[in-house]
């Protein structure tokens, strides 16, 4: 349905077309293929610290350079999404991203998701199966096409981490059916390989707020080594479960789940025992100790517990979510990384205003909060002009990073959907 624009760009209507023609179906794109996507162009000014994405200590998408504030332009994201009907009940979904601001030493182009999907109804129960490289449902802030945010530009620390660090290579099934009118229940189960170093980014940098979306070959080059979150090291499949209840469809939704990579507590494949890693884990952006990141061969046992709720009443949407990421390495006890946020968003005609408060912490290691304020005007369903201000304050624990850190970002974004 949103393809008309792209089609207008790619193919003009055939000669002799009548005014009564449907421009979309008379184009060269066949009916079984749906093309959609978005382009986000941005102007920003950011505080002095450069972003962690470029090996700085800043925890936002953009930062300054050489200790000075910066004002720049960015193509923060261009997405092309193809949905192809393979046969009546199955389709293939491919989502690719392009950005002028990828992580240091990483390609600006990548595949975000690629999976086969089938859905159908069996006696009132809706069933959906997906297989491939997919994003498990963890974020409440990405309801729109191309996994885009609706209420703000920058997702919460939870949504940011999910986007940068979580993807699974596996299969997933969702079943949904009415429990009692007007309550609908939904259950999700997935199992996957890969993801043995999901969490390592948190360990290195702690929580951050940004809208960079990792591709399936994600690679973060840090001053202390390269993080490849989706590597499979111990040969053990991970899994996730999730339960959801919707009341009156959009009025209220509650969902909770558990996700684990089932990592073998720091054990490498066939290593025959834990890999010894000297020194305690010491996180802190920009100040990783020499043994902080650990061997590439180490599988992190990462477990995620999350619960969230969303309510939509008239023009107001309220979302809250909390997530605890527990990371266990070969030596040392597990460390919990937690975030909770509360978001309120109000839509009035073509205007939207949102505010979000994030509070995040890691056991004895990090503590901080962030405010995000967002305003947008929708020219129509495809064109949006938005402005956003993000303020993040963190106080990594002693003695790692004794000074507090403040990151600021103001950005103006034009989003074109097609």
């Amino acid at each position: 349905m949103k393809t008309a624009l792209l089609i207008a760009l790619l193919a003009s209507a055939p000669a002799g077309a009548s005014k009564f023609d449907d421009v979309e179906s008379s184009s060269k794109i066949p009916a079984w293929l749906k093309v959609s996507g978005l382009v986000d162009g941005r102007a920003y000014t950011a505080g002095r610290e450069d972003s962690w994405l470029r090996q700085g200590t800043g925890r936002l998408r953009y930062g300054g350079s050489n200790g000075h504030d910066a004002a720049r332009l960015s193509l923060s994201q261009a997405s092309l999404v193809l949905d192809a009907d393979l046969w009546s009940k199955a389709s293939f979904h491919l989502h690719t991203n392009l950005t002028t601001d990828p992580p240091a030493d990483h390609s600006p182009i990548g595949i975000f998701e690629a999976f086969l999907q089938a859905d159908r109804k069996y006696y009132g129960t809706g069933v959906r199966a997906r297989a491939g490289a997919l994003m498990p449902l963890l974020s409440w802030e990405h309801p729109d096409g191309a996994w885009s945010t609706r209420y703000t530009l920058t997702p919460s620390a939870i949504g940011s981490w999910v986007g940068e660090d979580v993807r699974v290579f596996g299969v997933e099934a969702v079943a949904e059916r009415p429990i009692v009118k007007p309550v609908v229940g939904r259950f999700t189960f997935g199992t996957f390989i890969g993801g043995d170093q999901i969490g390592r980014l948190l360990w290195y940098r702690s929580w951050a707020l940004h809208d960079y979306q990792a591709d399936i070959a994600a690679r973060y080059s840090t001053p202390n080594g390269t993080i490849r979150p989706f590597s499979e090291i111990d040969g053990r499949a991970g899994y996730y479960v999730r339960g959801d209840v919707d009341i009156l469809e959009q009025l209220a939704q509650v969902g909770a789940g558990y996700w684990t990579n089932n990592g073998h507590n720091g054990q490498g494949r066939g290593a025959g025992g834990p890999v010894a890693l000297p020194g305690p884990p010491v996180p802190g952006p920009g100040l990783p100790g020499p043994n902080l990141i650990g061997a590439d061969a180490e599988a992190y046992r990462t477990e995620v517990q999350h619960i969230g709720a969303k309510a939509e009443w008239k023009r107001l949407t309220v979302i809250t979510q909390t997530m605890k990421v527990t990371i266990q390495r070969a030596n040392g006890g597990p460390i919990d990384w937690s975030d909770a946020f509360l978001l309120a968003s109000y839509q009035w005609k073509k205007w939207r205003a949102s505010a979000r408060y994030d509070r995040f912490w890691a056991t004895n290691l990090d503590y901080g909060f962030a405010w995000t304020l967002f305003g947008a005007y929708d020219f129509d369903v495809r064109n949006q002009l938005a402005a956003e201000w993000v303020y993040l304050s963190a106080r990594p624990g002693e003695p790692v990073f004794p000074r507090s850190q403040v990151d600021r970002l103001f950005q103006i974004n034009y989003r074109l959907r097609f």
Binding site: M1, A17, D22, S25, S26, K121, V127, D246, V381
Partner: protein, 212 residues
């Protein structure tokens, strides 16, 4: 021009079908296999005269996340209401050349009806429910009708004369000009279209809610 149309309409009204000034036409629409085609619009392609749109707005409901009717044919200048009969919000829009509009997030009745002045096709969508799909066909004269389940449509009170009859269906990709049929009102009482049609694509909600 307006006056003559009014006189024609008035005389048709007064004297019914007994005079040759205006007559009805039954049109049957079938695919090549003989199956009846529903929701096709048959219309007089060109008719002289100026036609005043009805004062009462037409209605495109949204019921159970579906546009009702799926296909709405109107005379250019007609206003259309878009009442939402569901408990949830819809966000109806059109990006078609004939009429672009946007009704952001509403329940119940959005403020004003939308006027469709330019003849052509407006394809409707909903920003919340991607699969919702509807059509408004905006025509130049009031001589049109939509086929029922049995594939027949009844054009009423068409002034006597020879016309080109056109057919529009969302199941046809070819321009309507490729399948014009000459009819002689007053002489012909029945005509039929037998054409190739694509598969009927009814909007289908996902089996599992897309977590929107």
């Amino acid at each position: 021009m307006k006056a003559s149309a009014r006189i024609a309409a008035a005389s048709a009204c007064l004297l019914g079908a007994s005079i040759a000034a205006a007559a009805d036409l039954t049109v049957s629409v079938r695919d090549l296999g003989g199956a009846p085609i529903e929701d096709a619009v048959v219309f007089v392609y060109e008719a002289s005269g100026k036609f005043a749109p009805p004062k009462e707005p037409a209605v495109m409901d949204q019921i159970d996340k579906t546009f009702v009717p799926r296909v709405l044919a109107i005379l250019a200048g007609t206003k259309v209401r878009f009442p939402n009969k569901d408990d949830i919000h819809h966000h109806v829009y059109s990006f078609s050349k004939a009429r672009k509009f946007d009704l952001p997030l509403y329940k119940g009745e959005p403020t004003d009806p939308i006027a469709f002045e330019t003849p052509g096709l407006a394809k409707l969508g909903c920003n919340i429910h991607d699969w919702m799909m509807g059509y408004v066909l905006i025509l130049e004269n009031p001589y049109f009708a939509k086929t029922a389940k049995d594939g027949t449509a009844h054009l009423k009170n068409v002034p006597a004369g020879t016309y080109k009859l056109a057919l529009w269906s969302d199941r046809r990709k070819e321009p309507v000009e490729q399948a014009l049929k000459t009819v002689s009102i007053g002489k012909d009482e029945k005509v039929s279209f037998k054409l190739a049609f694509g598969p009927l694509k009814l909007p289908k909600p996902p089996a599992v809610k897309a977590y929107k």
